[in-house]
Assembly symmetry: C2
Homo-oligomer: 216 residues x 2
Amino acid sequence: MVVDGALPTTTSPGGQVTSANSLTAEDLGSAAQRDRRKRILDATIVLATKGGFDAVQMRSVAEQADVALGTLYRYFPSKIHLLVSALGREFERAEGQLRDKPVDGDTTAERVIILLKRLTRGLQGDPHLTEALTRAFMFADASVQQEIHAVGMLLTRMLTRAMHPDRDSVTDEDVAIARVIGDVWLSALVAWVTGRATAAETAQQMEVAVSLLLRG
Amino acid sequence: MVVDGALPTTTSPGGQVTSANSLTAEDLGSAAQRDRRKRILDATIVLATKGGFDAVQMRSVAEQADVALGTLYRYFPSKIHLLVSALGREFERAEGQLRDKPVDGDTTAERVIILLKRLTRGLQGDPHLTEALTRAFMFADASVQQEIHAVGMLLTRMLTRAMHPDRDSVTDEDVAIARVIGDVWLSALVAWVTGRATAAETAQQMEVAVSLLLRG
DNA sequence: GGCACAATAGGAACGCGTTCCACCTCGTCC
DNA sequence: GGACGAGGTGGAACGCGTTCCTATTGTGCC
């Protein structure tokens, strides 16, 4: 689902040549710049929550974040980069919460189901936000590789951790299974956000996939 | 992945109120109208093959198909509808070929792998076309339900038929497995068309998923 | 043939993502 | 403190999807 390749480089705020815009706040220039970046992502989330993908208009984001349009584009080279970066921040938050309060359940399958339900519920509570972020994710091209990769890693890590709470003994097969589950989750999510499936159907589809993959 | 719900209705060429534009050529008015529709889809495929999603510009499609812009929108209410309809036609073609020359292979898993490889090879031979069609598919919202549903059904049918060449004995679990495989295929395809995975990685991901789902 | 009306042509206009440009501001170095 | 350069502002402009409007053409009905 997520693989590295040649990384395009660009100049991002701070001046140095870095590999695209990183999700993590590392090495991101001055406090003022970190603050602008945060304001932009906050505005993005607010607008996406209110009206979904279409409501995240670059002019509106710039206005709400109190930066000029050109500045917005300096921080995030496209609407897709912006939304995927926002998605990354949300996933980091989710993973943090998960670390504080891991899923419990007796079997591997049960824990994975619980994790997915928790994630999905969190998303379905904010349908517009989810729609915006999911669409951006699926529309992203190679120039957004790095941000996509980060999100994919987080998802896989959350899944393998639910499979093996004891952190050890994560085999290659476990990772492969986690990726397959992640793929199915994404497809189901796309069907849900685009109005082709109900929340219940999405949940059921996940259960089916997990039970098929983790039986035995 | 694909579920029915309330079907929006609209007036399509021919005058009657039908449920959106159907993929099949059934009930589609006069010969002139069927011809226009064909010309439009042909133009779409040509442009998509040449330059991908971005190259399929509504003005260009209209010009190449020798219809006015307004007419194009009368036949296909959006670029997404247009591309998903084109995808549907390609899938119908693929299923026809498959009917003439079914996959052979000794085990269920083997046949499914072969089918997926054949499908994928067909697509990867036309990277731009595949990019255009896949992106449209992932970006489609509820208004494209019917076309999406048709494509999903075709894919599932091809998969279950590969699993059970003898046509009978297709269980609910088989269908569920086919859907999961379809979802993984889509996710892998998206990763490939957006330049985040190589063709080889995509193929390997498919093999992993199939072996996980069809083991035993 | 003539009428009524749906379908098409042709093209202007609008919205939003994106690019570009002229000018301003602020920290840094001499 | 003055020059300089990166980063920021404000806004015009461009491209393409989409909508809309006014002829003009085709088509079924009498």
